[in-house]
Every structure is written in C-alpha cells, then in structure tokens.
C-alpha cells in the first residue's frame, strides 16, 4: 500500500547464525522465536560459553520452552513472560565482556525492547543478530498524540490514544521501536481508504 520503493529505514532481519569469532554468546528469544533458537542449536555448537533467555508468550501457537529446556538445560533459562526475561537479561549484562555476541528472536516489539536494554550497555543494534519470528504485526506511534498502539496487522488503525484513523507508514524508528502513524483523513474527514491486513 505504501509507495513502491524500499524504505531504507525499515530494518532488515536475518536468520540467526553463530559467530565463529566470539568470547561468549548470549541468546534472547520469545514466543515463536523459540523455533529460531532450535535452528541455532542445530548448527555446529560454538566453542565459547552460551547463555540463553527464553520467554514464553501467550499469543504463539507452539510453546518451545519444553524442547529448549530439554536440549540446552545448562545454557537456557525459561521465563513466564517477556518482561521477566528482559529483567533477567538486564542483571546479566554487567557480567558480560566485550566479544560477547548477541542474538535476538521474536516479534518486532520484543526485538527492539531487547535492543534498548543492550544499548544501555553500549551494544549497537547493528551488532545484534536479529530475526523476526511469528507475527509481522507493527507497533504504531501516533505523531499527533504520541501514543503507541501495539500489534497492528492492518495498514490503517484507530489510534488507541486519540481515536484518529492512522495510516501506518513503513518508516520505522529504532528508538521508539515502532512505525509512524499519520492521520489518513485530515483533508477529507471520514474518507478512509479500504482497511487491509498487510502485516499479519
């Protein structure tokens, strides 16, 4: 629906692969990101220590926590939800050394929440392996009332803050972890284009 060109602000996600050169590895995953963890565990296991954080997520179809706990019990800790996993990660980071490689898998909102925690420790997001798993739903930042509306799968959404009809642009802010939402019918109130599911 957005213009037919690739917006350079949209992040590009890649499959997780162990870095050969590292001092240690730290994996943080949630929900459908569990599958990505299993794919990592299928690769040649790294020589350096691995520490993993896995958060269960109500919205996913499959719960990977049991398999992960069975396959990598010494490395992975399982958490009931994403906040708990991130809290634990926050306490772990002061013990990490330079040379620790970071891998994150989950929804886009989860990925950038983790990226913000890592940024507090000087880890830049380009240096984090990130893979988007499960839903493509977007967090939308309304520029008018500055409210974030989560889990948006459509191209147009009613703002949870000001109720305006927002067109969700593909222009992504890493700082906010969300996409720009702009009123769609300011010029002709009520004239809202068809609402389509574009990011299920």
């Amino acid at each position: 629906m957005d213009r037919q060109y690739w917006i350079r602000s949209k992040p590009v996600y890649t499959s997780l692969m162990w870095h050969e050169k590292a001092t240690a590895h730290c994996v943080i995953a949630a929900g459908d990101g569990g599958m990505e963890v299993l794919k990592l565990l299928q690769q040649k296991y790294p020589a350096q220590p691995v520490t993993g954080f896995f958060a269960k997520n109500q919205k996913t179809l499959k719960d990977y926590s049991e398999v992960i706990s069975r396959l990598a019990p010494d490395e992975f800790s399982v958490f009931a939800n994403e906040d708990a996993a991130i809290d634990s990660l926050r306490n772990f980071l002061p013990n990490c050394y330079m040379g620790t490689r970071f891998y994150v898998a989950g929804s886009e909102a989860f990925i950038w929440s983790v990226a913000h925690e890592l940024a507090n420790f000087g880890v830049q997001d380009d240096d984090i392996n990130k893979q988007l798993c499960g839903t493509l739903a977007r967090s939308v930042y309304c520029v008018h009332c500055k409210t974030v509306t989560h889990d948006v799968t459509h191209n147009i959404v009613e703002c949870s803050g000001c109720q305006r009809n927002l067109f969700v642009r593909d222009h992504f802010s890493r700082r906010l972890g969300g996409y720009m939402g702009l009123m769609i019918d300011a010029e002709e109130p009520g004239n809202v284009p068809p609402i389509e599911e574009v990011y299920p």
Partner: protein, 345 residues
C-alpha cells in the same frame, strides 16, 4: 544594516506577506526548466550584499514574527526539541556558531561579549539579555540549542559523525516540510531519507553522504530544497497535520495565486569544532504565487518546472493542487526560450 521587523502571523489569520525587497531577494530555486534531485551542494560562500547568502546566517524582516511562531509551536509540543545525551558538546558548538554569526553580521541587533568562559549575549529585537558560562548547562535556562534555537530563523539538526555515517541525534524542528522529529531523531542519513522517492535509483544520497563525511571546519556548504504550502504556514509538521491538512483542499482557481506558496529551504551544513559533528540549518522562505509573479521570469520558469514535474516527486511533495497552479501560471508563460539561472529579471 537597517532591518524593520514586521508583525505578522504564520497560522490562523495568516497575515504574513513579503515586502518588495523580500520578494526581490527570494532564493528562487529553479535555474532550468526541468527539476530533478541532484547533489546540488556548493560552498557556502558570501554572495552580493542584500542577498540571502550575504552572511553565514540570514536574518530578515520576518525574524521577530518567526521566533514568536516558533515559541507557540514549542509551547504546545516541547518535543519539537530533542537531544540525545551524548550531544551536549555539539549543542555548545552550535550555540557558539549561531551567536557569533548573528553578532558579527548584525551588530546593531545582537551582541556577544566574552570574558574567558563568561559570555554575555543580548538580543535587541527580542529584548533578551543572558549572562552564562560557556560549557556549563546550569547557567542557561534550558539546553544550549533549545535556548538559542528559539532566537534564530529556521530548523537546526545536529548530526553526530561516527562509523562513516551521520546521525540526527539532536534537533529543534518547528518549520519542517512534513517530517517528524520524534520519529526521525537518532536516525542515520539513509534512514531519515528513507521516505524520499527515487532516492535509491539515482544514488543521490550515497554520493551526498560521502561528500558530507569530509565536510571541513571553516568550509561550510549549502543547497536549496523546495516544496509548496497552502497558506504561509511555518508549522507543516506531521504532528499538526490535522490542523493544516484541511487547508490543502480549500484551494480554488480564484484563490490559488494568493493561497499557494512556494516554500524554499536554504540548507546549510557546518562542521562543528569540539564535537566533530555537523550543524544542519534549514532556513525556510515562503512566497505566494502572486508575489512570485512580480517577476515574470520566475512565473514562467516555475510554470515549466511544475508542468513537467516527475509524478513521484509531485506526490511525495503533496502537490494535490498542482494542476490549478499550473493553470494559473500559464498566463505568464509565452513559451519563449528562457536562459538558465535563478535571477528575477
């Protein structure tokens, strides 16, 4: 230099207009009959007296009114000024740049006296006087760019240079052509240019970035950018689109000459000394089509540019009334060849 500051508004009743002198010195951006993006960067050298590029920073008859409009925007939305924590050095660099330029080039209006780090700044048109210690944020009523950004025309974006890239990590933005600081703050050069169409295809931004990474201290550069606005509105931010969006559909063949304005940005880039960052000043000039038509050469030129403008550009610049504009301008165009150059006559 004698400057008479006008009392005028850039919203609501829109009393803004350009005096004949302001019209004549307007930075008309089209040297040719066709327009496409280019890396049209040139050294920011001083040009002839009276022109908008006579000095490092241009203060004109709209100065007091624009500063007042800026204050209204900032009061309603303080997040039009944002600064990431590591940008304090850059803010001081920018404050020094702005205060020195204004006091050097407009000594009747602005003064800056220094006693070591103890500085005293006075701003006669706005009736301000401030003593402070350069480098000590506690001696200013607000952060350095927030303080001085309200006393200079145009938007200011401070860029951090790192990893062969530029990042918009601090800015005061109140007269932008439809981009959001809240979204864009912290973005890299390519990220914030993301929404611009044809950017990838023409390679324009890659070349521009490479050039800007080597921007030298003491050698600022500039370029012109343009779009159009309905009514002389400074604040055409996405944030306030619900306010100005409806105005776009009020253009009629009868009022198009009066309502539609050419909006030109004089963009200047300065290397900053202590932070090694860059200051990007975006100085906005507005002129109605009627005022522009004071000089038939300009009316002809812009008629041709708009008539053949690439549709993607027209769409991106939001020129939904373009056909009406082209119709209105057509009466000034006799079709005869026009030499290159942006001069009015």
């Amino acid at each position: 230099m004698s400057l008479t500051f006008k009392k005028e508004t850039f919203r609501d009743d829109y009393t803004f207009y350009n005096s004949p002198a302001a019209i004549k010195r307007f930075p008309f951006p089209f040297p040719e009959d066709e327009y496409m993006y280019s890396v049209n960067i040139e050294p920011h050298v001083k040009t002839q007296p009276g022109s908008v590029t006579e000095f490092l920073l241009d203060i004109d008859e709209h100065y007091v009114a624009e500063c007042a409009d800026k204050e209204i925007t900032l009061a309603a939305d303080p997040e039009r000024f944002l600064a990431l924590p590591h940008m304090m050095d850059a803010q001081w660099d920018a404050l020094e740049l702005i205060m020195e330029a204004m006091s050097n080039d407009y000594p009747d209006q602005f003064t800056l006296t220094k006693d070591g780090s103890n500085w005293h700044w006075t701003n006669k048109p706005l009736g301000l006087s401030q003593k402070f210690v350069f480098g000590d944020p506690s001696t200013l009523p607000m952060e350095p760019l927030n303080y001085i950004g309200r006393q200079v025309q145009g938007d200011w974006v401070l860029l951090d240079q790192r990893d062969n890239n530029l990042f918009a990590d601090c800015a005061m933005v109140t007269s932008q052509a439809d981009w959001s600081l809240a979204i864009d703050v912290g973005m890299s050069f390519n990220e914030w240019h993301g929404p611009v169409p044809l950017a990838n295809e023409t390679g324009v931004f890659d070349r521009a970035l490479k050039y800007l990474l080597n921007l030298q201290l003491g050698s600022p550069v500039r370029r012109l950018n343009w779009t159009m606005t309905v009514n002389p509105r400074m604040d055409t931010s996405p944030e306030n689109y619900p306010l100005w969006g409806p105005e776009k559909v009020t253009v009629t063949p009868e009022n198009v000459g009066e309502k539609v304005h050419l909006r030109v940005e004089l963009q200047t880039l300065f290397r900053l000394p202590r932070s090694n960052g860059q200051a990007f000043s975006i100085r906005c000039y507005l002129i109605s089509l009627e005022e522009l038509a004071t000089y038939p050469r300009w009316a002809k030129r812009i008629h041709r540019v708009l008539k053949d403008l690439h549709p993607a550009l027209a769409e991106y610049k939001g020129l939904i009334y373009k056909d009406m504009v082209v119709d209105w301008l057509s009466k000034y165009d006799d079709g005869a060849p026009l030499d290159t150059g942006t001069h009015p006559e």
